[in-house]
Assembly symmetry: C2
Homo-oligomer: 113 residues x 2
Amino acid sequence: MARAATTSDAFNAVAEPRRREILNYLALQERPVGDIVASLGLEQPSVSKHLGVLRDVGLVHVRRDGRRMLYRTNAEAIRPLHEWTKTFERFWQHQLSRVKELAEGKSRLSDKV
Amino acid sequence: MARAATTSDAFNAVAEPRRREILNYLALQERPVGDIVASLGLEQPSVSKHLGVLRDVGLVHVRRDGRRMLYRTNAEAIRPLHEWTKTFERFWQHQLSRVKELAEGKSRLSDKV
DNA sequence: TTGACGTATTCCTATATGGGAATGTAATGT
DNA sequence: ACATTACATTCCCATATAGGAATACGTCAA
């Protein structure tokens, strides 16, 4: 079996760095494709294809404005990702406190970090 | 160009559902490969290969225990993912509050939601 | 040493890219 | 109707899987 499609879910869709850049760019306000092209320095067909993937998994919304297509990030679709990563939050907090102790010279873990 | 390697970063590595399951399983305590195989119902070579990917991007740590290899999740490597998704937190919070207002009849945004 | 156990690696194949180039299509102005 | 603008889609190709099967490797017990 090959790798799962990039359109299979948000996790696969955001694995591509350019798609994350696009989501960042479209987070604050909707923008036409041309603006994304200019902003990210990618070819227009490339941007359209990335937007297609993002659309398929619901990471962006679109509406037509004359001959332009206005895209914007649908943050709600990023939430499952956030929730999953959040379940590990307490673990790195534990590690942080250890690092802090170390920095403060309160432990003998110097051979572990 | 083809898709980026699964070992290129944490985003690509966790795109695979089974690897997320493995990370969930190894979050609380270290476990030998055999336990993962039994727990997730995958073939042993498959598990070893997934662990290899997770190792390459630092998502798990390993240590040998006799003929067993004990793996555990390195939550710190998940943090970049959490940080990125976190930047969108305020957006879905906005949507939520707007939905709430709407439900409470406190706004005239009915044409926007 | 030999055998068994626990893992890792190699070989194979169907499938899915992401980018470049070229082309198709919808909407607007004249 | 026609040219132009703004995007989307298609074709092509090098590359990277994920899983299955078979095999190699490292460690321990007898």
